[in-house]
Amino acid sequence: MNATANTANPSSLRLVLTLAIAGLLSGIAIIGIYETTLPTITANKARELREAVLKVLPGVTQMQALVYRDGELVVVASPDKDEPVIYGGHDDQGAFVGYAVPAAGPGFQDTIALLYGYRPGDRQVVGMEILESRETPGLGDKIYKDADFVAEFSALLVDPEIVAVKKGTKTGDNQVDAITGATISAKAVVRIINEAHTEWSTRYPAPGSEPDLMDTEVESSEAQP
């Protein structure tokens, strides 16, 4: 086999074959790494989600995924893609504590994604955790770095709606002290929670008749990457 002649004018078959083999080998390598890392990645994601839910709903130790189908909240093992999911949080005894609701919306720079805990019995937001944001470091990022601001969301009435007020002028239980220098980011957080609450509040069953805790834990079933 003459290598020089081959490189000078190889047949199209050889070209196609080379690409096909390269593609095949690359496919095998990619699937290999994907299969190897998938369990760890899934576990990481489930742990992250779980930690966030436990953080926004104090007292919760168990959780399950809930979706809104045909007019009621149902427990699902694996939610469909693109289906909005919230999480029901339960304590040690399995008694219902509250919902953890993911929500997102435009912030100052880019989309802010967050998770908030809501106790329908008290009609209160009991915790808030920013999942994703690109707010300005040093100013807008106080929405998750400023412990005082995060603490504002630990007992917050949702009626008639949550309002962000100028720092230090808080008077009611539905008001949040905004952050000096990051008013827009703070207001964005409040707006995102309000919007999500308006959307979900009509879907919650009457307090006391929330879906019971199923045996299946959410993390074991959520296998999607």
């Binding site: 290598a3 081959n6 490189t7 190889p10 050889r14 070209l15 080379t18 690409l19 390269a22 593609g23 080998l25 690359s26 390598a29 990619i30 790494i33 994907y34 890392t37 760890t40 990645i41 990481n44 994601k45 992250e48 300005t136 470091p137 040093g138 100013l139």
Partner: protein, 214 residues
Amino acid sequence: MKQNVSREEFLKGIWRDNPVFAQVLGMCPMLAVTNSAINAVAMGMATFFVLVGSSFLVSTFRHVIPKQVRISCFIIIIATFVTIADYTLLALVPGVHKELGAFIPLIVANCLILGRQEAFASRYPTKLAVMDAMGMASGFLLALFSLGAVREILGDGALFGFKLFGENFEPWVIMILPPGGFLTLGVILLFFNWFKTKKDEFLEDVAAAQRSEG
């Protein structure tokens, strides 16, 4: 002699032909992820892995790959390594992966990597190609690190997350924002140019002195 050649290939990437400072390649990840030293280092390591791996494969198979489809083959090889790096980082250090986000897949589009395959790995024996790749990647890592360190120190008053200054330090926030990236790299390039001009002048002086002696 052989040893010297490969060492030369390694060293040229770090300083003389540094991909960022001298060749101005691979700018996108360079600026986007250098808002902290740790991100910069993670990005540098990922690029190192991809560049060395691809150079090794490309150089090993350089006689097998027909010229007409070489670019496609290079891209397939590079994309495979990037995917591997992406999933490995996601599994091992999810926090860092989240910070780097979409910029890890974008290593594929880093002109430095494809450039090295075309200009070096596809023409030279494996050993030299790997040395060249390691040199270039180390140079890139070094550049990323210096930019990341400068920006983190100025913009956050910290290095690798450890606070360097007291409470009274008012961070120069703009440095970890996008404009800071442009400005810092501009100033670093300025220094690089200055150094090069000085060195050239010095070499010329030496040459002139030698001439007058002879």
